[in-house]
Amino acid sequence: MKTDTATATKCRKFFGHGIPRVKLEELAGKLIVMEGADGSGRSTQIARLVEWLETSGHATVQVGLKRSSLVSSELEKAQEGNILSRTTLSLFYATDFADQLENIILPALKAGFIVLADRYIYTLMARDMVRGMDEAWLKNIYGIALEPDAVFYLSLEPEELVQRNLSKSAALDYWESGMDLGLSRDMFDSFVKFQSSMQAAFRRLQKTYDFTIVDANRSVDSVTKQLRKEIRALLDAE
């Protein structure tokens, strides 16, 4: 069994104080996180993993940013008008995350499900760091989060991300381009700058948090193959 990667069996723990009254030893399932920018292939890979896991007899649940029943619609609406200041935006996302953590992730893990998270606290922290928020402040807030069993970061150069996003929808997303930061009035430039800063933030986070960097500049099949191999090792380690 490998012990030097994120897929090695770990002791269950929260990053900080966690959620009161949760018994960690009861969380029998696995929490697997897929990180990466839009266009890095996260959702494709998750769909493929779900297919594979369920066919192999594992129950799965999916979570992702802005999917909580508590605040997702309000957050969406606020973002449309772009009237949120950065602390508010950050706390809004933290609320969205906490709601899913307590109402979906933890109960599913307790029931022995494999939870696939389409992004987790790392994206939230990286974005906020790029927006100039205090790292210690963020770490305190996300002390509520559970450490995943595995984190895969699908890494792709910003130039390649641009190509993929444009070929998919012929447009770049406002927020994924970091347009709120005023890096450049040119969306293309802003996207490249913002995504480069995001990568730098992820590299910084990787020093503290353990995640597996997956080279996403390959065929979809070959990425899936690597992910399956790592996840199988994790499941077999039981």
């Binding site: 009161p20 606020a78 200041s85 602390t87 706390l91 609320t95 402040w137």
Partner: protein, 248 residues
């Protein structure tokens, strides 16, 4: 925690804290009326009132979706929105900002709900300390009676029913408010609360409040440069007016 004055803001922030039913909202309202009448630039903000966040909070409360963690975070979101979009710019512009509840409400309530104190304080560490914080302390029974008389039906979270202190909402409310009061008392010194005896009558409390505010803040500095425009005292066009009179 530094005050706005210590941070060299031109404006000043005054907060009132206390249990539900302590009469603090009445007092800060009367303070606002006084300051307005004095021609001072004043703005009032109440807890949990951000237009952006309110619908999520009330949905969460109605459907009893909130846990101590999300309860805390959603109120912090609400506060941050008001703080960054309203309070800070107004304080930069030299306003006297009045807050019905401030971060201390979260410190007291969220900790009573079981959130770790350091975590809660960490979340709110972007907020500066009010220049004056009045803590309205009434006997617990007095506060409880005021609330229970006015609104016989207690709401789920208001009564602290999520803490399962008692299956009876009234009993739960009593225990919950008692614990919040303990939290307030414990931080009173650290944050320089000015204690107000909320058992006294409204007029007496207001007189004390105005006196202290007048002593601690040089109010003349916060006057509007030009008075608010008054409605015209005489018809703008006397000829037209006369015509209308004739027609009538």
């Amino acid at each position: 925690m530094k005050t706005f004055a210590e941070l060299n803001f031109p404006g000043r922030l005054i907060a009132v804290e206390g249990l539900d039913g302590s009469g603090k909202s009445t007092q800060i309202y009367l303070l606002k009326r006084w300051l307005e009448a004095e021609g001072i630039k004043v703005y009032f903000s109440s807890w949990n009132s951000s237009e952006l966040v309110k619908s999520a909070t009330s949905k969460g409360k109605k459907r009893e979706l909130l846990t101590p963690t999300t309860f805390s975070l959603i109120h912090a979101t609400d506060f941050a929105d008001r703080y960054e979009r309203h309070l800070l710019p107004l304080l930069r512009a030299g306003y006297i900002v009045l807050c019905d509840r401030y971060v201390f409400t979260a410190f007291a309530r969220d900790v009573t709900r079981g959130c770790p104190p350091d975590w809660v304080r960490g979340i709110y560490n972007f907020a500066a300390q009010p220049d004056l914080t009045f803590f309205f302390k009434a006997d617990l029974e007095v506060s409880l009676n005021r609330i229970l008389e006015g609104r016989p039906k207690l709401k789920f979270f208001e009564a602290g029913m999520d803490l399962r202190l008692s299956s009876d909402p009234y009993e739960s409310f009593r225990i919950f408010q008692g614990r919040i009061l303990e939290q307030y008392m414990a931080m009173s010194k650290e944050f320089n609360f000015i204690g107000m005896d909320a058992n006294q009558n409204v007029e007496k409390q207001q007189a004390i409040l105005r006196k202290i505010v007048g002593e601690k803040i040089e109010l003349s500095k916060f006057k509007r440069r030009s008075p608010l425009p008054l409605p015209p005292a005489f018809p703008l066009d006397p000829a037209k007016e006369a015509e209308e009179d004739m027609a009538a």
